[in-house]
Symmetry: C2
Subunit: 344 residues, 2 copies
Amino acid sequence: MPIAMSQTPKQPADRPVPTSADVARLAGVSRATVSYVLNNTSAVRISEPTRIKVRAAAEELGYVPHAAARSLRAGHTRIVLLPTSHIPVGPLYSRFFNELQWELRRLDYTVVQYGSLGLGADEAARAWAELRPVAVVSLGEIELTPQGVQLLKRSGARAVITLGPQRVEGAHALVMDQREVGESAVAHLLERGRRRIGVLMPEEPGLELFSRPRLAGARKAAHGTDALVEPVTMAYTEESASQLASRWRELGLDAVFAYNDEYAMLLMRALQDADIDVPGEAAVIGADDLLLGRLLRPRLSTVRVEMVTGRHLAELVDRVVRDPDGAPERHDLMGARALPRESS
Amino acid sequence: MPIAMSQTPKQPADRPVPTSADVARLAGVSRATVSYVLNNTSAVRISEPTRIKVRAAAEELGYVPHAAARSLRAGHTRIVLLPTSHIPVGPLYSRFFNELQWELRRLDYTVVQYGSLGLGADEAARAWAELRPVAVVSLGEIELTPQGVQLLKRSGARAVITLGPQRVEGAHALVMDQREVGESAVAHLLERGRRRIGVLMPEEPGLELFSRPRLAGARKAAHGTDALVEPVTMAYTEESASQLASRWRELGLDAVFAYNDEYAMLLMRALQDADIDVPGEAAVIGADDLLLGRLLRPRLSTVRVEMVTGRHLAELVDRVVRDPDGAPERHDLMGARALPRESS
DNA sequence: GCGCATCGTTGACACGTGTCACCACAAGCG
DNA sequence: CGCTTGTGGTGACACGTGTCAACGATGCGC
């Protein structure tokens, strides 16, 4: 229900936004002087009284420089583009994002998260290029093509860093090899004597980029042994979980590695409700070491994932921006370690 | 460990980014023509052969327009600024954000999430104003001051919408009254006959903006009754939870409303581990209706929060941008409803 | 009085784009 | 031929900023 707010005396909407020329006029100096003062340009000396006059005038008008004009003149920006995720990311990523942002700001970059929902890979690259970012840090949700990378570089991007599971030609790669996660999990289950291992794949779209490599890792760990690895799908609902649990015995599996702790918790509860003993009849292990996983009984086993720190990545961005022609680096950013608790 | 990537023949880094003038030159036409063709300007007639020549030239050069130059010339942008959260938001918010972004993009806005970590309220407003956004949707994490709002409006923002718990003078308010959440929770507990109610406040910083109003709502619900409402603090760790549980009996409470389901789950488990019966000795209710809350035994009671849809908000943004001088609206965006399960 | 260095300030240009007013040309019409 | 009308295209300006080269004034040394 709309309610009128207290009427404040509105200035006419057509009053133009003040520019540095307005500041100059009010202070009685030239526009050049205004620029020198407000940017603290050290190569030019301006007398103290003038500085004060200019600052006062700027303050009075509420002058704010125009970023677009500034970067147009400068010929470059300090924008680091961070394509926004559309997938439900866990607390691990949130923390990483925040740290990355903080550190980049410390290095005087302007962090811009730019959504690209509903755009194709090359459309997205084109849209990003319009902003003329100095660096792009892609998280692999949009599959940046080599053409996209080249387009970005030609538009002035000095660093294009992909953080996803797969490498992209031309980019400074920072690979997060999600396969390690599946590998550690299955290696652990094998060690525990399990031989018929299900890998829980979420039905939710957008997660394949993470779930597929994890499955591949699981297969790799079982390769050369007599163990069997088989994908099973499940949606993130109670119904789907109990449905899977009711089929459990006919599947003939003795363990399951779930995509992450949330799916693992859901499935474990459903199994228990179907009178299937965990870990006796079914060992369960998740991933990401969610705090909540420790609350269930038995306590959920998990794979702890160690991501690169935001600071580390921020420094890499800065290094590449300063020297784009330096040797491209390839970093492996994930450490994965099975954390056995009671469910496996 | 850095590994050299396959060497691609690099073009010299100093090759300039192609402009519309380059396209014009290559196509053998004027720059004006290029602009008309690439923007499909309907008011001007350009022959089909010329259009083809221009498009081919643009394609060949990999031309991408310069957003800064464009908006400088246009005198305005289509940027909607979405100050980035630094608090760990739940799945509720993630979904809302994504929908909002999607809908704004559909309306041809450019959504930019701009972090303001470590900046004060007015510094942040100034930084935002530099981008000359046409609209700002603040989520109340930065407490936008009336001065900040005015600064933004003077810099060309036609819509400034605050989505936080509190109103800000001059902005088009969309209030999310978090008090309702606490109110519903405590009303439910009272109905169940509880009289000594603890309100769990997170120790983590950044959440006060949400936790304080929820506490206020709890107090409001108990007002005029003989019930007692008392805040207790807890951190999001197992240690902190078990510490609180060990003090439970001396606190003399018979129920607790937790900030959200995660804290509630943590506390409930700790209480059970300390041999305190839930809900017998202590009723527990959380908030946000997390799926995982239904996995514990007893099942966790919660408060389901209904937020505005992203589409609704996107349409409000568009409406205000089109008619900024229309009557400011005030919307209450939250619906809160207690969802009793087994823990209360 | 004259050259010369220093200080404080300024005029002018360039960045890349969109768009208005105008132009050259041809065709149609009396 | 002279005038209008339509077609297809262009020259030039403005948007707001940073910075270079140049300028007048002042002081200093001789």
